[in-house]
């Protein structure tokens, strides 16, 4: 089966459980199992080739220029991990079917589980480190969902958040580390990176990359000092704990260390960071495990300890140690998953997992006892069980390792770890199963049904088989180790190695462990009375501190008024601009200043006076608006003067609708701005404003007096406008043809803006504000003649003329100044005049099409024009044109771009009208009856309608 399919199957299958739970829990579990089994089968099909030493790849280049490829490959290491993930996953699915109660939403559980499974398989099969990072983050997210599955429990939520915070932070560090690594190796493909050991280790960035990547691995694999999240994650349902914390998620860090072992290991940095962390974690985890009463916490810390052991072995950097690490990964996954499941069974059947309240279960739960005994003794490392073999190999390696020249430190601590491991493993048996039967169990315990103990029982098989005939695992260990160390180690696994130092240390560990257990209870009292740093308190304090810092920064910047951050923003922009100006080189002036005509002086003077007047008199809002109109007018005239007739027309017509809009707004807003800023603050604002003004003015002056540094693409547009777009008006051709896609986006934005306004109006009119609006009293007397005859007649006469002008401007747009934008604005003004003359209600009663419809029609028309070019096998929005002649007319041009421009026209009309209409709709008052007449006083009419009071 293709590697893509193996990775994709769990993701695709994740959709099924959520749907099929309606068909019942068995169907749901069976489907989930079938998905995993299919993926596992696909893996097994590929296994023989990998075992022969081949490595399979599947490539999909996505963005090769950026090194972003969806490449997968399968070698021994990937095979082992994918096998563990899918195999144990299958057992977990079976176990969870019987573990979850009727109240638990099982479909959701299986969906999360498959998502997680897919992400894990993705990690171990990725051949691209960027792809690997994506899957890495996906495991953090999906494990968050799994750990927080019982979201009604606070511990569950807190544990999930802590796991996400810790592993997510490590993941961020790792992203940086991986990017450095990819840069050093000049490729993001793992297969290439693995061949660049010398280049990478010679670089001065190697230590930084190493630390960042290890931060990701250590947080994920719960290594000291990041080990604290793992026990808190035990708030999850036991199947999750068994899956995430025995076989998969916490092994992801180990996987990555093993994966990158060929390039990163072998240096003193690697040895001292990785081996030391592993050693400390192993001993510390085992010590804490010994004193935990909660069975799952005990197992969690024992997991921390065993992960430390594997990390330490990888850290040694020797080939023998790497082989031992690989072997222990297999062994640990089998016995720890089974142990977690037995803890879950005990919890499920007795309703407690507190070792203090248990004991004497061996006769009540014989099957569970048998499974727990075998797996716990394997964890303790007793002979004829698989844990023994890898522990021996570990002690053997440790015995030959010196730390800072000290030959006994590592062996002694490793033995201490093994000793503690024996103690807590035996404790799991002695304090839970042995001893007298009690009569105060929360419920009467008994063995669960077959479905629940089948999965752990299956896991016992490899524990015993490998323990007795280690040769069966040889092929797998050799293949996997080959992938890690780059050559076949040809190890022969056997139980009896002779009287080696490791055997001696092992004996010490077992004897010492048993001895230690006998004094566990008094020691536990001592342990409980000693003050220790509590990780959760520290974590919570750190999070609270960070959140507080975040709040202070945010509150400092965002105090609810735009003023503060607008000021900060402005000062920053000016400072950055000044810095850039100071840092760059300024070319010589190459353009002569152009002549200033008297007209230009006059326009400039009017603009300056109007602007200064606006600042001075802006408190009177109506006056400010008039001055705004003057400024807008001068701006449009300057566009015209400076050879931009299209801009002048657009600015002029936009100016009209903007002023109408702001006048409408003043209907609802206070008419004056009260003075409320003290002079000092005004001075400050003026300083900021002056700095910004000087910056903008100075920059554009420097720009205008120099020629382009690089060639411009404008010449292309000028020379191609007629031949390519069939138009003389280059600006219009750019809008509807060369850059048609941009315009398409812009009209869409415009339409959305209008619909937003409409939506806000609707929401407002549905709220209590509506009452207030209806009963609003105008601030001053309204004109007695609201709809004067002169105006009504004038606008009626103007309407067809204005619409004709719009049509004219539209049609000539391709070759002369004009086009859809301007025509749309002119047409809207013609319509708005009718609203102004005869009132909103009268006009809207005569409206035939809703403005949303017009906007939609415009966007659709533009789209259709664009799509039309597909029929001619051209890209979206390629225009075509031709010349036609219909007698008696002269020859004229038709371009498909005209359809697009018509879409622009419709959107502009619809958007402008919808915006203005929405705002004026709010102005309707309760007493505002709709007059049947266009004007209040009509001499042709006998009676006049009752006037409003």
């Amino acid at each position: 089966m293709s590697l893509f399919l193996i990775v994709l199957l769990p993701f695709a299958g994740a959709l099924l459980p959520g749907l099929l739970i309606r068909a019942g829990r068995n169907v749901c579990a069976a489907t989930t199992g079938a998905v995993t089994a299919t993926a596992l089968l696909g893996l097994i099909v590929n296994a023989p080739a990998v075992m022969r030493g081949q490595s399979l790849t599947a490539r999909l280049d996505w963005l090769p220029a950026l090194g972003l490829n969806a490449n997968f490959h399968l070698d021994g290491l990937g095979l082992l991990f994918a096998g563990l993930i899918l195999g144990i996953g299958l057992l977990i699915i079976l176990y969870a079917r019987f573990y979850l109660s009727r109240e638990d939403p099982m479909g959701r559980f299986y969906t999360f589980l498959l998502l997680f499974q897919g992400a894990m398989v993705g990690i171990v099969l990725s051949d691209n480190i960027l792809l690997l990072l994506v899957f890495w983050e996906l495991t953090s997210l999906s494990s968050f969902l799994l750990i927080g599955y019982w979201s009604h429990l606070p511990e569950s939520r807190q544990g999930a958040r802590m796991a996400l915070t810790v592993t997510g932070t490590g993941g961020l560090a790792m992203i940086a580390g991986m990017l450095i690594l990819g840069n050093l190796a000049d490729s993001y493909d793992l297969s290439v990176i693995l061949t660049r050991k010398e280049t990478i280790q010679a670089s001065s960035l190697y230590p930084l990359a190493l630390v960042l990547i290890l931060a990701g691995c250590f947080t994920k694999s719960a290594q000291f000092p990041f080990h604290f999240w793992l026990p808190h994650a035990m708030a999850a349902p036991t199947p999750v704990s068994a899956y995430l914390h025995s076989a998969t998620m916490v092994k992801a860090g180990l996987f990555l260390m093993a994966r990158l072992w060929p390039v990163l290991s072998g240096t003193p940095e690697w040895f001292y960071i990785v081996a030391t962390t592993g050693l400390v974690t192993m001993v510390l985890g085992a010590l804490i495990a010994l004193f935990k009463d909660d069975l799952k916490a005990l197992l969690a810390f024992s997991t921390v300890s065993h992960l430390g052991l594997i990390t330490m072995l990888l850290g040694f950097g020797t080939k023998g140690a790497a082989v031992a690490a690989v072997f222990h990964i297999i062994n640990h996954a089998s016995f720890k998953a089974a142990l977690f499941m037995t803890a879950g069974i005990i919890d499920h059947e007795t309703h407690t997992r507190d070792a203090q309240r248990l004991g004497g279960l061996r006769r009540l739960m014989p099957v569970t006892f048998a499974i727990a005994t075998i797996t716990a003794l394997s964890m303790a490392g007793l002979p004829f069980l698989n844990g023994f073999l890898s522990k021996e190999m570990m002690l053997e390696e440790a015995a030959h390792t010196a730390w800072l020249g000290n030959p006994w430190l590592v062996p002694a601590l490793a033995t201490a770890g093994a000793l503690l491991s024996v103690a807590y493993s035996l404790r799991y048996l002695v304090h839970v199963f042995l001893g007298p039967e009690r009569d105060d169990y929360p419920t009467r315990p008994h063995d669960p049904g077959f479905g629940m103990w089948a999965a752990p029982a299956l896991l016992v098989v490899p524990v015993i088989v490998i323990g007795i005939y280690p040769a069966v695992a040889e092929a797998l260990v050799n293949t996997t180790a080959t992938a890690v160390i780059g050559q076949d180690p040809h190890v022969h696994l056997k139980i009896w190695h002779g009287l080696t130092p490791a055997l001696f240390l092992s004996v010490v560990a077992v004897a010492g462990g048993a001895l230690l257990l006998s004094v566990q209870r008094p020691l536990a009292r001592l342990w409980d009375s000693t003050p220790r740093p509590e990780a959760k308190t520290m974590f919570d304090a750190a999070i609270a501190g960070l959140a507080g810092l975040g709040n202070r920064v945010t509150d400092g910047l965002h105090n609810g008024a735009i003023t503060r951050y607008a000021a900060i923003f402005m000062v920053t922009v000016v400072a950055v601009g000044w810095h850039a100006y100071g840092g760059g080189a300024l070319g010589a002036e190459t353009r002569a200043l152009s002549q200033i005509s008297p007209v230009a002086w006059i326009g400039w003077a009017v603009l300056v006076i109007a602007t200064l007047g606006l600042i001075r008199y802006h408190r009177n809002r109506l006056r400010a608006l008039v001055l705004m109109g003057v400024i807008g007018l001068i701006v449009s005239i300057s566009f015209n003067y400076l050879s931009a007739p299209d801009l002048a027309l657009t600015q002029l017509s936009v100016e009209v609708v903007t002023i109408i809009l702001l006048l409408l707004a003043l209907n609802f807003l206070p008419e004056i701005t009260p003075p409320e800023t003290p002079p000092l603050r005004r001075m400050r604002d003026m300083t900021i404003a002056a700095a910004a003004g000087l910056g903008a003015g100075g920059l554009i002056y420097l720009l205008m007096t120099r020629d382009f540094v690089f060639g411009t693409i404008s010449d292309f547009h000028l020379t191609r406008s007629y031949k390519g777009g069939g138009g003389d008006n280059v600006v219009n051709v750019i809008l509807v043809d060369f850059r048609g896609y941009d315009t398409f986006g812009e009209i869409t934005v415009l339409g959305i803006a209008a619909i937003v306004i409409y939506a806000v109006t609707e929401a407002l009119l549905d709220s209590p504000v509506r009452r207030r609006l209806l009963h609003r009293q105008p601030g001053h007397a309204l004109a007695g003649d609201a709809h004067p005859m002169m105006m009504v007649i004038g606008t009626r006469v103007l309407m067809p003329i204005a619409l004709m002008v719009a049509a004219y401007i539209f049609l000539r747009g391709h070759n002369q100044p004009g086009g859809g934008f301007i025509a749309g604005l002119v047409a809207s003004i013609a319509l708005v005049m009718q609203y102004m003359a005869s009132g909103f209600a009268w006009a809207s009663e005569r409206q035939r099409y809703p403005y949303h419809g017009i906007i939609a029609a415009g966007v659709l028309l533009a789209t259709a024009t664009g799509v039309g070019s597909w029929l001619a096998d051209r890209p979206f929005l390629t225009s075509n044109f031709g010349y036609f002649r219909i007698p008696p007319l002269k020859e004229f041009e038709l371009a498909t771009a005209m359809g697009f421009d018509a879409g622009v026209f419709l959107v502009v009309v619809g958007a402008v009208m919808l915006a203005l209409e929405s705002i004026s709709r709010m102005a309707r008052r309760q007493d505002n009856e709709v007059s049947p007449y266009p004007m209040d006083i009509d001499p042709a009419r006998e009676t006049t309608p009752a006037k409003e009071t």
């Binding site: 105090n559 609810g560 735009i562 003023t563 000021a567 353009r591 152009s594 200033i596 230009a600 400039w604 602007t611 606006l614 802006h618 701006v635 300057s638 400076l642 050879s643 007739p645 299209d646 600015q651 936009v654 903007t658 809009l661 409408l664 003043l666 807003l669 206070p670 701005t673 409320e676 800023t677 603050r681 604002d685 900021i688 404003a689 003004g693 903008a696 003015g697 554009i700 002056y701 720009l703 205008m704 007096t705 404008s714 010449d715 000028l718 003389d728 008006n729 280059v730 809008l735 315009t743 415009l750 803006a753 806000v760 407002l764 709220s767 070759n815 002369q816 934008f821 958007a911 709010m922």
Partner: protein, 128 residues
């Protein structure tokens, strides 16, 4: 001419920034409009100034780009003008709603204008 345009852009920017820093919605809207004039003129002027050279082709052969002003900034500014109308309309709508719902057109979070608010309103950093 360049000096006039540059000083006009500078003045409009300064006026816009000053108005944006006011404490009521309406001046802020005016300030944003002034800023959009300034920005549109700025973008337009990056094509350099030319008089009586509109980018409308006079003949279809031997097109000399030097005979026309730069059409590209014009096309950019044209859509920018229309879009800025749309955005102004949205801000106007939002500020009208805010004013109607809270009975004040202040832009900070003061619940209602009153004696208490008067005292502290120029030091918004003192309030949450």
């Amino acid at each position: 001419m360049e000096l006039l345009v540059a000083s006009a852009i500078g003045l409009l920017t300064a006026a816009g920034v000053y108005m944006v820093l006011r404490l009521r919605t309406f001046p802020v809207i005016l300030g944003l409009s002034l800023l959009s004039y300034a920005v549109n003129l700025f973008l337009f002027a990056t094509g350099r100034l030319a008089i009586n050279l509109p980018p409308v082709l006079k003949s279809h052969s031997n097109i000399d780009p030097a005979g026309y002003t730069d059409p590209l900034p014009q096309a950019l500014v044209l859509t920018a003008i229309v879009i800025s109308f749309g955005m102004t309309a949205v801000i106007v709508m939002v500020s009208i709603s805010a004013c109607l719902a809270s009975d004040t057109d202040r832009i900070d979070l003061t619940p209602a204008p009153g004696a208490e608010a008067e005292a502290g309103e120029d030091q918004p950093e003192d309030r949450r």
